[in-house]
């Protein structure tokens, strides 16, 4: 508790405030961790994990590790959790965990194993000779950041370089795993243009959510059940005689032939025969 110790040395109120903050964070992190394994949606799990990570970052800061506190927020809460959210969005937000037990009695066994493991851990912690926090020694450098930098680039320089190799390997592995070979050749621009000409529908498709074969203002929109909606045509167009009679639902080619017979160009808008 080197840094925080210096900050908190002196009055009793600092100690009380730190204890209060610790217990609040303790309850928050344990509650969020329990909620994380209990809620069914993956997005809610990610949010709960963010709460735990922020609580832990605050605890690092309280224990004299401001560098780790900021790395925790930037790398874990910022980058890793965003990566999790990206993958959740790719795989499907609405996918819920199944509640059924595939192995009989698995939850009970997991609970018993967890209780036993917890008892062993707490007994070990209780028997270990854990003393109070000692103030930082002079070997740590002037502050937390320079002390860490000295350690990383002198004592731990080889592990540091190995983590560099690990990160490059991980990036290459992710690229290899996420790569997908094309089974068909990529269509050229010419082929795309020819395909569009053959389809007989030159104008851009209406945007998503618009149920219409044409995007002119006088054509009624198609409702999801196939009927037309008169509400979608401006009321000004009908008295002026320009509104199209509601077409029945026909395949697009046939309907285009009818409009061509009637002498009306299938232009999107701006007709002159008003």
């Amino acid at each position: 508790m080197n840094h925080a110790h210096v900050l908190a040395s002196g009055t009793n109120t600092d100690e009380v405030a730190r204890e209060t903050i610790f217990w609040i964070l303790c309850v928050a992190s344990i509650g969020a961790a329990l909620a994380m394994i209990l809620v069914r949606r993956a997005v809610h799990c990610a949010m709960m994990l963010a709460v735990v990570m922020l609580a832990l970052a605050t605890m690092y800061a309280m224990q004299g590790a401001p560098f780790l506190a900021f790395v925790q927020i930037i790398v874990y809460t910022g980058a890793v959790l965003m990566l999790f959210l990206f993958v959740i969005m790719l795989i499907g937000v609405s996918s819920e965990d199944s509640v059924t037990e595939t192995i009989k009695g698995q939850r009970l066994a997991a609970g018993l194993v967890a209780i036993g493991f917890f008892v062993i851990l707490i007994l070990g912690v209780g028997h270990a000779a854990l003393g109070p926090a000692t103030p930082a020694t002079a070997a740590n450098g002037t502050d937390n950041l320079s002390g860490l930098a000295t350690l990383i680039f002198t004592t731990y320089v080889f592990p540091f370089e190995v983590t560099g190799a690990l990160l490059i390997t991980a990036a290459l592995g992710a690229m290899v795993l996420a790569h997908r070979e094309r089974t068909t050749p990529r269509p050229t621009q010419r082929q795309l243009a020819a395909r569009r000409l053959e389809s007989g529908h030159m104008a851009p498709d209406p945007p998503s959510g618009v149920y219409a074969l044409h995007d002119a203002a006088d054509r009624p929109a198609l409702l999801p059940d196939g009927t037309t909606s008169d509400l979608s045509v401006s009321t000004v167009l009908a008295p002026r005689g320009v509104a199209e009679e509601p077409p029945s639902v026909r395949p697009r080619k046939e309907q285009d032939a009818i409009t061509a017979e009637g002498g009306r160009e299938p232009a999107p808008s701006g007709r002159a025969d008003a």
Binding site: M1, R18, E19, F22, C26, S29, I30, A33, L34, M36, I37, C45, L49, V52, M53, M59, Y60, M62, Q63, A65, L68, Y76, V80, F84, V87, L90, I91, S95, D97, T102, Q106, R107, A110, V113, A114, F117, L121, V125, L130, P132, A133, T134, P135, T137, A139, N144, L148, L151, I152, T155, Y156, P159, F160, T163, L167, T169, G173, L177, A178, R180
Partner: protein
């Protein structure tokens, strides 16, 4: 607060993460529980560092964060590959090697 409290809290969080790995079926959630266990270890490392008054524990926690980031990148890429092949992120559906 003495480091004992922090170590006890890290033990509790580690056990909760272990239970999550054992009982959850969604591979992404299992990954998050593994991250929770790694974070609990980091908390213990930082507590031990403050107990001994040196920074070695903080350096180890820093390395744990680096390794965890690499693990998440590769693990999520594997998850995407499995999802692309089997259209499911549940660990019960990846059972081709099951006896």
């Amino acid at each position: 607060m003495s480091p004992v409290h922090y170590v006890a809290l890290s033990a509790i969080l580690f056990v909760i993460g272990a239970v999550g790995v054992l009982v959850r079926r969604n591979a992404i959630v299992i990954f998050m529980c593994v991250e929770l266990m790694l974070n609990a270890c980091n908390l213990a490392f930082v507590a031990f560092a403050s107990m001994h008054g040196n920074l070695d524990g903080q350096v180890i926690a820093f390395f744990v964060m680096v390794v965890a980031a690499a693990e998440v990148v590769v693990g999520l890429a594997i998850l995407m590959a499995i999802y692309r092949a089997r259209r499911s992120a549940s660990v019960d559906d990846a059972n081709l090697l099951k006896y």
